[in-house]
């Protein structure tokens, strides 16, 4: 997209400079550390009150306490100015000690998009009236809840007002042109302090204040979510009234993205999702969908990721714009399979009118928008670690048949699931007892209607999503055990265990046999693929029999990994698939590293050989390519074809890395993880890792050269 109007081109250098600063700045590791003293101060002052009121007051006090800083380029208010406070200071120490003495409220937080529709409709003042009406007819407990919501609104209004004051205070010293921008920020924040948002800018500003507000309750990872759907009416109104042109909306979106990068701690993920369908099943793509993607292209920072929610009626233009970004080396855009995900949500009882309204809550874990107290990634199960435990347990007297062994493994897996459920429910009890999050509750359906806090079961959806890590390694390992130990008798169970315990030291030929002789998940062989399908069916069934507190919610599986395939891999010993101790497990639903030796089409067929819809906890499939494959517009189109075929076959999510030199360098250093990396130059195709070092250097020079 081209935005050549002077508004954008005049502003672009300032955005670029801010972006540059933002990219270089060390982001905070922890948000909460900065506001701990203020939380402690508030809680100390309210010890005699019920927890609901205490937390309401606390949120109010922290929201009031927040200050803002405003750089010379920002068009939105958003970056908090943290008072400098050393973690060694007595004040901080005392505050941490005090908070440490408060009973714990453990468990996952955030991972949701807020429901700001009431503020869109009523504004803060109107919502206050609504709360007062509800409070008048409520029971004692509900009265406290509504009171805590009223405290929240008081604080939220103060936060908006302070944002307005910050902009106003900056006006006198500002240049003539900057004054108009500051005035716009001032007016917007001032309006939000009492009234509903009117303009696109207002709505975007409110979206960010909502995220910031939940952070004060130590709730991480509340995300912008479906920006295109939420904001389109504001945008269209502004456009129609001539208040805004598309490039201005783009500038504001870029502002939001930069602020997110300034504030959200590193190592996390923040999602924006576009496209998808409405409740009637019609394509929901709008102009903002494109602007949200375009803003990612322009900011090109780690946050946010943009997910395209793809279905058959998704416009080609949106698909192509996203593929183009991927092809240019952006690794953040991802495609989500709307059909599969909606099918899964309906399976878990989400009504058809709501199943379209979900987000990838950070990475690929799906949560319903605006109504979620869903704990994601709780817990992670290291499937291969349990397998090695089973081999150890069975080594002396192994079952007579492979089926017997498999059953024993599944029994162990089922036990781990049961333990996981018990632990999460234990946390839910503590959370209900000791936790309250009135800000998040106020903007999560149905807390308001029920007059209940989100920690007390007020939300519409209270699922717990767990995650099974290393499915590909598990399938590969099970196949090896079946063949080596049970069918071909080339190895006994104790011998296998000894081999694993040795971490293949001095047994490289055996390791290579396990690794290379047997087919692997990812080459599209039913003999191996079925192990993933069977495991997925098994854990889906196992998880389905549990009920989660406080409202008998679902325990829902996923194969989402975040960084856990690496962490759990690092902690785990060698596995029967020839994986050495400490090596990462396969990421998500894809084949293990270096095993896609039949190329991406085969990997996709393996990955879509099982129904991912029950894995609403998230299923990711990463593909990586060297740019030598994509040399022309036609070959780029093939990337699109791959992605679309994956989604049509029921793919859940995919993201693609198209990398040049850096990937080849890594492949040269760590060939085991890149055995499947194909390079292609002028009709010659070969595995990169098989080339002689000299030839590798030559290819690297070449791809670097081509990229220029």
């Amino acid at each position: 997209m081209n935005f050549h109007d002077s508004l954008y081109t005049d502003y672009a250098p300032r955005l670029a400079a801010w972006r540059q600063e933002c990219a270089q700045r060390q982001r905070p590791k922890q948000f909460a550390a900065q506001i701990i003293t203020s939380i402690a101060r508030s809680l100390r002052a309210s010890e005699s009150l019920p927890i609901q009121l205490r937390r309401g007051l606390c949120t109010r006090d922290v929201l009031r306490f927040l200050e803002f800083e405003l750089n010379d380029s920002a068009l939105l208010m958003g970056v908090p100015a943290w008072p400098s406070l050393h973690t060694e200071s007595p004040e901080f120490q005392a505050a941490s000690a005090y908070l440490g003495s408060i009973p714990p409220a453990p468990g996952q937080t955030g991972h949701c998009e807020l429901d700001l529709s009431r503020l869109h409709e009523l504004g803060i003042d109107g919502l206050r009236q609504d709360l007062l009406r509800r409070q008048a007819n409520a029971n004692k407990e509900q009265k406290d809840v509504y009171q805590s919501f009223l405290y929240v609104l008081e604080g939220f209004s103060a936060l908006c007002a302070k944002a307005a004051a910050t902009a106003l205070a900056a006006i006198p010293a500002a240049s003539e042109s900057r004054r108009a921008e500051l005035k716009a920020i001032y007016e917007s924040c001032q309006r939000l302090a009492h009234q509903p948002p009117v303009t696109f800018r207002d709505a975007l500003q409110l979206c960010w204040f909502g995220i910031l507000g939940t952070m004060t309750e130590n709730v991480g990872l509340v995300v912008p979510g479906r920006l295109d759907i939420r904001l389109i009416s504001f945008y269209q109104r502004d456009i129609a009234a001539g208040h805004i042109i598309p490039s201005q909306a783009l500038m504001l979106l870029e502002n939001l993205y930069l602020i997110i990068n300034e504030v959200i701690p590193e190592g996390l993920a923040v999602s924006v999702m576009v496209g998808g369908r409405d409740a009637q099943g019609r394509d929901a793509t709008n102009e903002l969908s494109y602007l949200c993607v375009e803003a990612v292209r322009r900011t090109k920072l780690v946050y946010p990721t943009v997910g395209v929610c793809w279905h058959e009626e998704t416009p080609e233009a949106l698909t192509n714009l996203t593929v183009e970004l991927i092809g240019k080396g952006y690794s953040t855009p991802a495609f989500f399979g709307d059909e599969t995900i909606q099918r899964g949500l309906k399976h878990y009882g989400v009504p058809p009118a709501e199943s379209c309204d979900y987000i990838n809550s950070t990475c690929v874990e799906i949560t319903p928008c605006g109504s979620s107290n869903v704990w994601v990634a709780s817990p992670y199960f290291s499937t291969c670690h349990f397998l090695v435990e089973e081999i150890r347990a069975q080594a002396e007297t192994p079952p007579a048949t492979f089926e017997g062994f498999l059953k024993a493994y599944q029994y162990r897996l089922a036990e781990k699931i049961r333990e996981g459920v018990t632990e999460e429910n234990r946390r839910r009890v503590l959370r209900q007892l000791n936790g309250r999050k009135p800000f998040q509750s106020l903007f999560t359906k149905d807390c308001l209607e029920r007059g209940r806090d989100i920690d007390d079961g007020g939300a519409r959806y209270n699922w717990v999503e767990c995650s099974f890590v290393g499915l590909a390694n598990l399938a590969d390992s099970l196949y090896v055990i079946q063949e080596e130990v049970y069918h071909q008798h080339t190895m006994s169970m104790p011998e296998l265990l000894a081999l694993l315990d040795s971490n293949f030291e001095g047994h490289e030929p055996e390791r290579l046999r396990l690794l290379k002789k047997h087919p692997k998940y990812g080459i599209n062989t039913e003999a191996v693929d079925h192990f993933v399908r069977d495991t997925v069916a098994f854990v889906t069934k196992e998880c389905a029999q549990y009920k989660m507190l406080p409202d008998d919610s679902h325990f829902i599986p996923g194969a989402f990994c975040w960084i856990m395939h690496e962490l759990l891999g690092r902690e785990s010993g060698a596995t029967p698939d020839g994986r050495k101790a400490g090596f990462p497990f396969a990421d998500g639903a894809g084949p293990a590293q270096g095993r896609e030796i039949n190329g991406p089409t085969a990997a996709i067929l393996s990955t879509t050989s099982w129904d991912a819809s029950s894995f609403i906890g998230g299923v990711a499939f990463n593909m990586k390519f060297n740019s030598s494959l994509f040399t022309s517009p036609e070959t780029f189109q093939r990337l699109r074809d791959l992605i679309v075929t994956y989604l049509r076959r029921g793919g859940f999510e995919t993201q693609v890395n198209v990398v040049d030199h850096a990937m080849l360098l890594k492949a040269k250093e760590n060939p085991d993880a890149y055995r499947d990396l194909v390079v292609r130059i002028g009709g010659y195709t070969d595995y990169f890792t098989r080339l002689s070092p000299e030839m590798q250097t030559e290819v690297m020079l070449r791809t670097e050269y081509q990229a220029v």
Partner: protein, 300 residues
């Protein structure tokens, strides 16, 4: 029936429209000096040997009937004068050091492999490409593969040097959507010198195939010092202009990557000094052909 193949490459995206599977047939009547698939020339299987991958497990030394594998001072040596290319050594080699290139495969087996990616052909308009070697050297096998592909509505491409009896090409016209026809050299004496085959039959085949209405892509490998000559470029353009059904000319700049395969085959590299042409040079070649050519000229 069976044929000899050396590779089935899925997700092939540069040998015709869409996502394709390219079947590489083994055996070629030409001996191009720059061949980047040297393992494709002989119809017989070869043993690829990559000593850098060897982990010294000793399987090959123990299992070679000819004692061609030896370990000398800890270094794995394959004595090619003793090797009968039986491939027994590679059967238990999982390090990647030894690999048999080339095998017999039935039409059914190959088509089954090709059809695995049917969902991708449907999305992309792709299909099957026959390459080589020279597919026309195994004419009947190629004919059956293409017939089977047609039955499944696949788009089909044939990469050929054009060096075969014309009847073979003629019989395939209705089974092949695009002929990727090589144009290696336009000067007859040089063609014979560089490829070992006379140009006349190839040119005659090309002309006659065009007359039958086959859609053609001319593929022109350009090797600095051999055929990177302006008169050759002009002759390519003239040829494309003269024919009725050439939709595109592709310039394939020389690259020395076949050298890796020569090493693995234990063959001497006769042109160790040849290297990648400069990008500007390649652009100049393309411009020179495009200057007088009425169809698009692209880098292939």
């Amino acid at each position: 029936m069976n044929g000899r193949i050396f590779q089935i490459q899925r997700f092939s995206i540069q040998d015709g429209p869409g996502i394709r599977t390219t079947v590489f047939l083994k055996g070629c009547p030409l001996h191009c000096l720059w061949c980047h698939n040297p393992e494709s020339v002989s119809p017989a299987p070869h043993t690829f040997f990559s000593p850098a991958q060897c982990i010294g497990c000793g399987y090959c030394v123990e299992n070679c009937p000819e004692q061609a594998h030896k370990t000398v001072n800890g270094v794995h040596i394959l004595d090619r004068t003793l090797c009968k290319e039986c491939g027994k050594c590679a059967q238990g080699c999982y390090s990647g050091a030894l690999e048999v290139v080339g095998r017999e495969a039935s039409v059914e087996e190959v088509i089954a492999e090709v059809l695995k990616d049917l969902p991708f052909y449907k999305t992309s308009g792709g299909g099957m490409t026959l390459s080589g070697g020279e597919p026309l050297a195994q004419y009947e096998f190629s004919l059956e593969l293409l017939t089977a592909a047609r039955k499944h509505d696949l788009n089909t491409c044939l990469e050929t040097s054009g060096f075969a009896p014309f009847e073979r090409l003629a019989a395939l016209v209705n089974l092949v959507d695009f002929f990727y026809f090589d144009c290696k050299e336009t000067d007859p004496a040089r063609h014979l010198e560089y490829t070992g085959a006379p140009l006349a039959l190839i040119m005659e085949n090309l002309t006659r195939l065009d007359a039958l209405g086959a859609t053609l892509v001319l593929r022109c490998p350009i090797i600095p010092g051999l055929n990177a000559r302006d008169e050759h470029f002009q002759a390519i353009a003239k040829l494309a202009n003269r024919l009725q059904h050439v939709k595109e000319v592709q310039i394939l700049p020389y690259h020395p990557l076949g050298r890796s395969k020569l090493e693995r085959l234990g063959k001497k590299d006769l042109n160790p000094d040849w290297s990648f042409p400069e990008k500007a040079e390649v652009e100049r070649w393309i411009a020179e052909v495009a200057r007088t050519c009425r169809v698009p000229v692209l880098q292939g």
